[in-house]
Symmetry: C2
């Protein structure tokens, strides 16, 4: 067993992977860094955890300071602790993620000069990110791909009332592949989790599609116990 305390000191950080679904496109929240190392690089919003704050509090504070976003429910998903992941020393980072419904623009405004700016970037064609942030992003993306097949997260990203096309577009954006339209609709309707509304899309120039809501009770039940006894 190795010797005690001082030689174990490290720095803790938080990194936030915030997904947003914006009119058919899956996006990710990035900052442009203003500081070395990786000055001018794109990175996930992330910073160091202070001594006097819990990691959950730190995650909220950091996201707010770097992007202006507040009251976002984030879930912790993985700690990244490779020895050389940070060029300035041993920094272990705890990553959080969240999924947001974006209705066009949300105001993004860093409260600190640490970030030059914050903005949404499509997950497709993402450039290389600072540190191991590309790896952190990939792990989060894998997580939501799995999650969308067995937990009711899809609907957090859609407006309350949506068309089947919008629903399919969301699944296609997250899974990053085309799905067969007939098959998708049949399956989705068979799950019994959608409520057909007596309402159609408004303000579209093409033939208006039917709107759906989801039946929260049934949806939660479907996903609660796959093997329910």
């Amino acid at each position: 067993m190795k010797a005690l305390l001082p030689s174990f000191e490290s720095i803790f950080s938080i990194d936030c992977v915030i997904f947003g679904f914006d009119r058919g496109e899956l996006k990710i929240l990035l900052i442009e860094r203003n500081e070395e190392p990786f000055k001018d690089w794109l990175a996930l919003p992330g910073y160091l955890v202070a001594q006097d704050e819990s990691i959950d509090d730190a995650a909220s504070r950091i996201l707010h300071e770097l992007t202006g976003l507040k009251d976002i429910f984030m879930e912790q998903f993985h700690a990244f602790g490779d020895v050389n992941r940070h060029p300035q020393g041993r920094v272990i980072t705890v990553a959080y993620f969240a999924m947001l419904r974006l209705n066009g623009a949300k105001e993004l405004k860093p409260l600190t000069s640490f970030a030059k700016k914050a903005f949404w970037h499509p997950v497709n064609n993402l450039p290389a990110l600072a540190f191991d942030h590309s790896e952190i992003f990939e792990k989060a993306l894998q997580k939501i791909k799995r999650k969308i097949t067995y937990q009711p997260i899809a609907f957090e990203l859609l407006p309350e009332k949506f068309t089947l096309t919008q629903l399919q577009t969301l699944y296609e954006a997250v899974l990053n592949r085309k799905l067969d339209k007939r098959n998708f609709r049949k399956k989705m309707l068979n799950y019994g989790i959608l409520k057909e509304l007596d309402e159609k899309q408004k303000g579209v120039s093409y033939r208006a599609a039917k709107l759906y809501k989801f039946d929260k009770r049934k949806y939660a039940k479907l996903f609660k116990n796959e093997l329910s006894f």
Copy 2:
């Protein structure tokens, strides 16, 4: 934004929640601590992460040093980072878990005097644990309760060939409640993931029950995509 590096230094630790299933009983691996604080208390196997090792490597090393167990596949599940969780200073811990099939005894032998001994304890009637280890344990238990309903982990805990009673006992132990026998069997057989063998239990004094294996391919498929398109 707060000032830079030194004021952010913390200590990192790893804690291991190792579940074992032993003849119908769900158990957890504990150590008796030999050091202050919490000398003589029961705790999860856990220690500090060194500067020169990744957190995954640290987890394997720590489990080995404190219990003698080697080559256990552990999965990281949560970081615990409340400000006052450790009485000696700011220590953030990353918790790992694993599930093992115990065939009676496995040799447990700490390689370090940090642990007086290591042993399996039934998860029912667990005493208070050191630090926030009771909370860490509870979070891991909730995790495997959920997991056992939608991922193929149940079978990692059973012998290769098992009876339906053994399978039910495992589910009852993890979920901590009695299940209806007829209903359980019907559902399990309906999933199509069990292969009935042309073999019965040996060496039992009561009427020998049929043995089953699980069909790994079908099992994996069942759980791979709940909403498969």
